[in-house]
């Protein structure tokens, strides 16, 4: 892997040039009140490289909250036309845990039947990742996965103060930086490693992650599910903000004229009360506790067994977004440990 460096000023000019290039959207992190969100950059002035976490993860660009899959004319059964809106995009400043989440998402959308809507968007994207420069109280990414980030990143940035160290991970990344003032790296491996690890996580998963699948099975009847379930609003915040949650619903919408219709895919999630209701009205997970357990089992057992990787990247968004403060995997596992 080639390692270069660029001064922060030069990097900003580089991004500004990219923004002005109209055949690719440049997406970065911007301020939203006192929080942060990914958005199309209009000027590099808006770009925040020093942020704790974004409200929604980058999945919104690959699996949009509401996406048109097909267009049709309700009165003509042969009128179906597939729609796949996928612009060329570059995402700048994606933290490594969000890159790791896309590793899981890529697997979910390509395992078995390939999902063209998701995969095309991924193929049309350039991912410029980075190591976080700001502490976030709920993050525990270090205690889960990190190597997966390099399977998704095209470029990785490491903040060295006045410069970024630039790890060129893929050929796509190599092409992307063409024309910028990227020069020979002068930092030692030790310095780079220190910078990568500068921001500490306070939280740790209290159980070794490779043991979590069997740990959960053993604790299928643990009181945590009911105790925490009782506090749950079934508001879905924890799954909507989660970078590794990909559940969706598909429905049809018809215009008022009744002449044109669309088939749309919208975000859905297992924490919502009606998620597991089937055609005859039966709800497979009627109780809040059962839904609460299901989510943890997806992250800690289902995904690991399918994709050989823990299903949670430790971003801490769920913990932060939960009004009842019960959604964080660290908190759940600690409660289980404390109440054996």
């Amino acid at each position: 892997m080639e390692v270069l460096k660029i001064s922060k000023d030069d990097f900003r000019s580089f991004v500004q040039k990219k923004i002005e290039n109209s055949d690719q959207r440049t997406i970065g992190v911007v301020k939203k009140g006192s929080h942060f969100a990914y958005a199309d950059l209009e000027s590099v002035e808006d770009m925040q490289m020093d942020y704790n976490v974004t409200m929604l993860p980058p999945k919104k660009y690959f699996q949009p909250p509401k996406e048109i899959l097909l267009k049709f004319k309700p009165k003509d059964a042969s009128s179906y036309v597939a729609v796949n809106q996928c612009d060329k995009i570059a995402l700048i400043g994606v933290h490594y845990y969000d890159l790791a989440s896309l590793f899981l998402m890529d697997k979910a959308f390509s395992d078995g039947e390939r999902d063209e809507h998701y995969m095309k968007k991924r193929e049309n994207s350039v991912m410029v990742g980075m190591y976080p420069t700001k502490y976030f109280k709920y993050r525990f990414a270090k205690s889960v996965l990190r190597d997966q980030a390099y399977k998704v990143a095209d470029i990785m940035l490491v903040d060295m103060g006045d410069d970024y160290v630039v790890e060129v991970v893929s050929e796509k990344g190599r092409e992307y930086i063409d024309g910028g003032n990227f020069v020979e790296n002068k930092y030692s491996l030790l310095e780079i490693d220190e910078a990568k690890n500068k921001i500490k996580d306070d939280q740790r998963i209290p159980v070794p992650i490779e043991l979590i699948p069997e740990y959960l099975v053993k604790n299928h009847g643990h009181k945590v599910w009911e105790d925490f379930g009782n506090k749950c609003f079934s508001c879905g915040s924890c799954v909507l903000v989660c970078p590794t949650c990909y559940c969706f619903d598909v429905s049809e919408e018809v215009e008022l004229s009744l002449q044109n219709g669309t088939r749309v895919r919208t975000w859905d999630g297992c924490m919502l009360e009606d998620f597991a209701v089937c055609g005859d009205g039966h709800n497979f997970r009627k109780e809040k506790g059962a839904r609460f357990r299901h989510r943890m089992f997806r992250k800690g057992k289902g995904l690991p067994e399918k994709f050989h990787s823990f299903g949670c990247v430790g971003c801490g968004r769920c913990a932060y977004s939960c009004a009842s403060d019960i959604a964080g995997p660290v908190k759940i596992l600690k409660y289980m440990e404390d109440n054996k």
């Binding site: 506090k231 879905g236 915040s237 008022l256 009360e273 977004s321 009004a323």
Partner: protein, 250 residues
């Protein structure tokens, strides 16, 4: 329904804000007129028809004359929809029921003119306390996009459904800062979505003006509000603004 469905609008005790939302539809009104025949609508036209395929009822029932009128409308309507929270649950006009003396309420509002005969009303009833209601379109005011969906689906013979998830879902999709983070109290986790989280998106806490989801976790809301040092009475008042039963099973 064959030909274009005949649609009528009626109002009872309300601010007429919900009908205004419909009058505000602008260009969609034309599409609406192609889909259905609007036979009565005081905000934009007046007329009379012997029967209605869809009757939208705005407002709560507060007088005997209203009861007679709504029963008559019911007998001539195939589908009767409670339009807006006044009709759905009694809404804002129902707040007076919380006061043990209706005379006191009138004195508070109208001062020494409180005894005028047209102010004579009984405790507010939701429409379904008087006649059978087929469908509920909640909100104070209603969301006019949801109204269009209702009209479209009823016309197509589909039973419109309301979202059964909380306002937080729509709020999260808009990437709003959660008002709890900003030190405010928001009823979003209990409230039924469908309004596109319009209040929190504008920095205003949700008051559950569309009522709650089917199984709101009021216990959990009480716990949160207690953490913020609200008294039980304050909590109940907050939850009850739009007629949500504030009691919890402990």
């Amino acid at each position: 329904m064959g030909a274009k469905p005949k649609v009528a609008f009626f109002d009872f005790a309300s601010c007429e804000g919900c009908q205004l939302q419909i009058a505000n539809l602008e260009e969609e009104v034309i599409g609406l007129a192609e889909l259905v025949d609007i036979v009565e609508f005081r905000e934009i036209l007046t007329g009379k028809a012997p029967e209605y395929d869809i009757a939208f009822i705005e407002g709560a029932i507060t007088r005997d004359v209203d009861e007679k009128k709504i029963k008559d409308i019911r007998s001539r309507s195939k589908v009767l929809v409670a339009l807006g929270q006044c009709a759905v649950s009694g809404g804002i006009p129902r707040l007076k029921n919380n006061n043990p003396s209706l005379d006191n309420v009138k004195k508070m509002v109208y001062g020494d003119k409180y005894n005028m005969p047209h102010l004579d009303t009984y405790p507010t009833k939701a429409v379904n306390e008087v006649v059978k209601v087929d469908l509920y379109l909640p909100g104070c005011p209603i969301n006019n996009k949801e109204f269009l969906r209702f009209v479209k689906e009823i016309s197509l013979g589909i039973m419109p459904k309301l979202p059964n998830y909380p306002v937080c879902v729509e709020c999260k999709l808009k990437e709003n800062e959660c008002l709890f983070d900003l030190g405010q109290i928001c009823l979003g986790p209990l409230a039924r979505a469908g309004c596109d989280a319009i209040c929190p998106s504008n920095g205003v806490p949700c008051e559950a003006c569309r009522g709650t989801v089917d199984n709101p976790n009021k216990n959990a809301m009480h716990e949160i509000l207690e953490k913020y040092n609200y008294t039980v009475e304050e909590i109940k008042r907050k939850i009850n603004i739009f007629g949500v039963d504030p009691e919890v099973k402990k």
